[in-house]
């Protein structure tokens, strides 16, 4: 019978597993994400630098190319912890900009239009809702940070041999862990801010402000109080201290690694608290 001729009837077919419902949110949000040409183009641009690095690694191992580029027989590029640290710095900047574009649009429309009531009156918990939305950022940002990073690592390993890979396996761990820390900070900040202000544009601006003004304010505190504790409110500095440790960079960071971890943990906990306060089907008006 044609759909338009049917009257009301109950559904008696199979249902999907309850644990997998948050993936529905991921699927729909991702579809909306890449419906925008600007965002799709920006995402593609974000992959240019990994491509450039790949070309660099390839050229580095081929004598002809090296001669052509550096007119010397030695390698023109040291593919080591420093190389991947720079790679992650660049990709982190792109990840930040992409998050400022797409992050606020994930939650704020639902809150602004009261759609949360409809999500949460179904077999979907608040945690699953947040998980579904944050997974969009986690997966998208992963595709431009640690996934190409690992590809670069394994390409280099395939060129330099198993011994290089074995000796530098910690770099792979640093790429993955360093990226995940950055992605977690960005995703939680974007979702929490958009849940808080419920306005996509303002949330995007707030995210930019959080990182830029946080950095500026932190440095101002350092200058006025002649301390290094101002870096505790500079999120990008905190993450770079952790990366510094992960990539075994030389030099003394302004804060200890444990301080950076604690500060980031406090920030992400605050974001989660804000999300749990704002992601509700109904609000109590006191």
């Amino acid at each position: 019978m044609a759909v338009y001729k049917r009257s009301y009837r109950p559904y008696s077919g199979e249902t999907t597993p309850v644990w997998s419902r948050f993936l529905v949110l991921y699927r729909f949000s991702r579809r909306n994400l890449f419906r925008s040409k600007v965002q799709t183009v920006f995402f593609v641009i974000c992959l240019f630098f990994p491509l450039l690095c790949l070309l660099g690694i390839y050229a580095n191992s081929h004598l002809n190319a090296i001669t052509f580029l550096s007119r010397s027989t030695g390698p023109f590029l040291d593919v080591n912890g420093r190389f991947f640290s720079i790679y992650l710095d660049v990709q982190a900047a792109f990840a930040f900009l992409l998050t400022a574009f797409i992050g606020p649009g994930l939650v704020s429309p639902d809150l602004a239009n009261g759609a949360l009531t409809l999500y949460l009156c179904r077999p979907l918990s608040r945690t699953e809702y947040v998980l579904g939305k944050i997974s969009v950022l986690f997966i998208t940002l992963s595709w431009m940070t640690w996934v190409p990073g690992l590809v670069l690592f394994f390409v280099q390993a395939s060129i330099s041999g198993w011994q290089w890979m074995w000796d530098n396996l910690w770099i792979a761990g640093a790429i993955v862990l360093g990226s995940l820390v950055w992605i977690a900070v960005l995703s939680l900040a974007a979702l929490a801010l958009s849940a808080w202000v419920r306005w996509r544009i303002v949330a995007g601006a707030l995210l930019l402000g959080l990182f830029f003004f946080g950095a500026g304010f932190g440095r101002a505190i350092n200058a006025v109080l002649r301390t290094q504790q101002g870096y505790l409110i500079d999120l990008s500095q905190l993450v770079s201290i952790i990366w510094h440790d992960l990539f075994r960079d030389a030099g003394e960071p302004p804060l200890s690694v444990s301080e950076a971890w604690i500060a980031l943990l406090a920030f992400t906990s605050f974001c989660l608290y804000l999300l749990m306060r704002k992601i509700r089907a109904n609000e109590v008006v006191r």
């Binding site: 338009y4 009301y8 529905v24 077999p123 979907l124």
Partner: protein, 310 residues
């Protein structure tokens, strides 16, 4: 085992420092339950509590035998909810939105799409199903909210002020849809409204809340049946013989002012018998009314009760 649709046992809900629902105890098994009460009576809080949005501060509530505290997900998979306020994503097409809701309720992707089309056609939005929800009129948004509530074929449909802001034809359409779903026998319906006419036209049972308490429960079908046995007559002529004859038939008669009588028909007596008695005794039957104890009367009586509680 047949469980009541909804059962409360000393249910209390506190929001902040305010106790919004107090010690509710009752159970309902009818197919359509009307939830009435003035503003601030606790109707929406009760619905939100049933959906698991608020946690009871005391007591318990069960839907189809499942506890709202421990089986919230199971209950939500059985319930369809149409909220009072705007609740949609304005830049999504109706069919995408309804499909999303269906998938979140557990329908596989293809079945969800099919049911989304079906629901939209059923509520009368078939031709507008690819339009963005933000471009819908208020009446269309109400219908879209109804479509998302029924897309997964719930066993219990909760409608919170479904006719809010609708013009008369749209209201009629909504009432017709609710009646159709009621008559399909496939689902139970809770209709929460402050419009007594909506409840009267669609519901079998009515619960009236006041200040967070159930102040009245009424089975409208029984009420209507009993009203049909209660007559108000205005007679002219020698009426003693008529009253005696009516009493011999088993009717209860009580005199009123100015030749008016109140009469409760016995089970085996019909109105035609009263006409016959009057004709045989040459009595003029100038007026015969069925008692119409409307829902408004019931509601006003319930509101007059000061302390509340059944």
């Amino acid at each position: 085992m047949n469980h009541p649709v909804i059962e409360f046992r000393n249910l209390s809900v506190r929001l902040g420092s305010r106790e919004v629902l107090r010690d509710l105890s009752c159970s309902f098994s009818g197919s359509t339950i009307g939830l009435l009460g003035p503003n601030g009576a606790g109707k929406s809080t009760l619905i939100n509590t049933l959906l698991g949005f608020w946690t009871p501060s005391a007591g318990s509530a069960h839907i189809f035998g499942s506890d709202i505290r421990t089986d919230a997900k199971k209950i939500r998979s059985l319930v369809g909810y149409m909220p009072e306020n705007d609740a949609f994503i304005h830049n999504m097409s109706a069919v995408s939105f309804i499909r999303l809701m269906a998938e979140l309720s557990g329908l596989p992707s293809e079945a969800a799409l099919e049911r989304a089309h079906e629901s939209l056609f059923y509520v009368g939005l078939g031709e507008a199903r690819y339009r963005k929800l933000g471009s819908y009129s208020l009446g269309m948004k109400q219908l879209a909210k109804l479509a998302q509530a029924i897309v997964h074929g719930p066993k219990l449909l909760i409608l919170d002020e479904p006719t809010n802001g609708l013009d008369p034809p749209a209201r009629q359409r909504m009432i017709r849809l609710v009646r159709e779903m009621r008559d399909s026998g496939q689902m139970h319906i809770i209709l929460c409204s402050h419009l007594l006419r909506d409840v009267e036209e669609t519901c079998e049972e009515v619960v009236i809340l006041k200040q967070g308490r159930v102040v009245h429960y009424s089975n409208l079908a029984d009420e209507r049946r009993s009203n049909r046995r209660f007559l108000e007559l205005e007679l002219e002529g020698t009426i003693d013989g008529f009253v005696d004859a009516a009493r011999r038939l088993g009717c209860e008669c009580a005199p009123g002012a100015f030749h008016r009588w109140k009469l409760v028909l016995a089970d085996n007596v019909e109105v035609a018998d009263i006409y016959r008695l009057a004709a045989e005794r040459n009595i003029q039957l100038r007026r015969l009314n069925f008692r119409r104890d409307t829902l408004e009367d019931i509601f006003l009586k319930a509101m007059e009760s000061t302390n509340g509680g059944l």
